[in-house]
Amino acid sequence: MEFNSLATAAAIAVFTGVGAGIGIGIATGKAVEGISRQPEASGKIMTTTILGAALAEATAIYGFVIALIILFVKWT
């Protein structure tokens, strides 16, 4: 029973991935729009997109790390 509640908590923590997915999707979509409008600026747009994706992805990673802490740290 105890493991059940921990697993539920970890599953809720991993839900942060939803926001990161939506965010990266929007950022990539806008980047594609920008490149198709101005193909010569693709280099700069590319680096900015990678940076933005990395920063947006961080929230998902924090959720994942918290889920791991919930699951694998020995709770006394």
Partner: protein, 250 residues
């Protein structure tokens, strides 16, 4: 799967009656990564020629990439000073993130099931990336932050650095101090979480489908994701350095 997450301790020392892990698998794999980088760089830069061929081309394109990267991000004036650290971090992270691709070689249990030979059960490579250990990534992130603060010292002077705390308004000093803690933490957590996440997905895949499928997904999870995260780490470090250098020039 627990054995992928928990680090194996090979040697521990006693400090004040407590046994402290001294040599773990992350340390050993770091040595392997360092050996790979050093030997390959030694062979790449041996007998340099004016007209490059083969392995020298690879070394030159790597140096060119780092040079363009630092010139583009930090600026032509100061970029060269930071190229060495950024290149070292990039090489170490790229090799150590991607080294877990070696696990796609079938494990002993699979081999013995295929060839009906019980002697093969003990065959296991099991090299896990050192960056799945929280301490390794934290150490690298602290290195990056030391470089950033060093750049601020170097280009602003200690007086200018102290002044920069209350530059727009005095309230921003809190945010700046918070920045020095949050930035390395975020660098560290991003790398650690990504590598460990990819590792866990791959471990589950090895468990579910031991043959062929790991080879396909390993290219994405081990090589592509590892190289991307190494690039992102170096990119963010360069961005922080550029911020430190730029604000000094105003």
């Amino acid at each position: 799967m627990e054995e992928a997450i928990e680090s194996r301790v090979y040697y521990s020392i006693d400090i004040g009656g407590r046994s402290v892990p001294f040599i773990t698998d992350a340390v050993v794999v770091s040595w392997i990564v360092m050996a790979i980088i050093m030997i390959s760089v030694y062979f790449m830069t041996r007998r340099l020629k004016t007209v490059p061929d083969g392995k020298q081309n690879l070394a030159e394109s790597l140096v060119e990439f780092i040079k363009n990267f630092t010139n583009g991000q930090i600026g032509e004036k100061h970029g060269k000073a930071f190229a060495a650290y950024l290149c070292t971090a990039l090489l170490f992270l790229a090799v150590s993130n991607a080294i877990s691709i070696i696990n796609i070689l079938p494990s002993g249990e699979t081999l013995s099931a295929i060839f009906h030979n019980p002697a093969l059960v003990n065959f296991k490579i099991g090299i896990l990336p050192p960056t799945k250990n929280f301490n390794v990534t934290l150490c690298l992130a602290v290195f990056s932050m030391v470089i950033v603060i060093g750049a601020e010292f170097r280009y602003k002077g200690i007086k200018g650095w102290l002044k920069s705390f209350y530059k727009p308004t005095p309230v921003s000093a809190f945010i700046k101090i918070l920045d020095y803690v949050v930035r390395p933490m975020s660098l560290c957590m991003r790398l650690f979480g990504n590598v460990l996440g990819a590792l866990i997905v791959m471990e589950l895949l090895y468990h579910a489908v031991p043959l062929f499928a790991p080879a396909v997904f390993g290219v994405y999870f081990d090589i592509f994701d590892g190289l991307l995260q190494a690039y992102v780490f170096v990119f963010l470090t360069a961005l922080y350095i550029a911020e430190a250098v730029e604000t000094a020039e105003e």
